[in-house]
């Protein structure tokens, strides 16, 4: 079951933008992060939710999309995310957020996938600009932005070839291909 969900949970970058997501849904997703592990149980992560079209339009230009797809500046109008969850690190609680935001993001996106949504973890963020747009205090580090929406693209996992190339690519039919390393190449040893 979890294997199927993890397989289906691909980073998605084109959405049915007219599909509306409400605040209640985003809160349910953050609740999954809340119930997940946190280093020393400090729980230093804070969240800003957005599912408002006008605000979404201000958040969108703060994000860099799919660095490997040259000539594609990101989803066009009509295919942009319906919602965002911005993950912040509260520096009054911790100075180092370890991988807490990875744990939280995986919980949130698995939850989104189960609801028929999809998302993308975006680390390439114009942080100063986003801080202005959302009036984020200096106390909070901007760790990740999760873009969420109803998926409008097909994504296929394939195997990394002998050349070791891990760059995802999009074919002429718009299908997005993601090369993943073989299991035997990532397991160093078994005892």
């Amino acid at each position: 079951m979890i294997e199927k969900l993890i397989k289906q949970n691909r980073s998605c970058r084109r959405f049915h933008e007219d599909y509306e997501i409400d605040t209640g849904t985003l809160k349910e997703l953050v609740n999954l992060a809340r119930l997940s592990a946190s280093a020393a149980n400090l729980q230093p992560l804070k969240y800003i939710l957005c599912c408002n079209a006008e605000k979404n339009e201000q958040i969108f230009p703060c994000l860099a999309w799919a660095a490997y797809l040259k000539g594609w500046a990101g989803p066009q109008t009509g295919e942009r995310p319906s919602a965002y969850i911005i993950i912040l690190g509260d520096t009054e609680i911790a100075k180092n957020f370890g991988c807490d935001h990875g744990i939280a993001s995986q919980s949130i996106l698995l939850g989104a996938r189960e609801k028929g949504l999809a998302g993308c973890m975006i680390g390439a963020v114009r942080r100063k600009k986003l801080r202005d747009v959302l009036k984020i205090k200096q106390r909070f580090n901007i760790l990740l932005v999760l873009a969420i929406g109803k998926p409008k693209e097909e994504i296929m996992i394939e195997t990394v070839g002998n050349d070791g190339n891990v760059k995802y690519w999009r074919d002429n039919d718009g299908i997005h291909h993601v090369p993943k390393r073989n299991l035997e190449d990532i397991i160093l040893s078994c005892h």
Copy 2:
């Protein structure tokens, strides 16, 4: 479904040590991490698996357990993990591993929970010692150790009180209590 699994997936520190976990099970769990998101799809994580009692005994003293439980040095013989997954960062692939190990660990431990197992992400590791024990080359950073086994403790989530204390504690019946912040305290704003 995923909510139930995330709720059940508590950090566990006491196990039925005599319960055997095989390499095939550990590989299935790492496969879940393999299929999960990775920043820029670089997939710089590598894994060492161990489900061998003798080797486990060498790994165990490299780990620090439950800093908040004063006077408890970690699980005693018979209650230790049956297996370990050591997550490494391959510095020939990336210099910075972002939160990839958080994403991977959450996938692995959700998979373990689904199999009736439980685990704990351990960041407090005597890295030099573990490097010696497992003959880990300098090329690899030791990011996290996942301890995995058949759970032998009851864990309850509760709410952080007004004092803001997030320290987990164990009651006289051996039940482990984990205070989690309220949802309204971690969501800064909704747009």
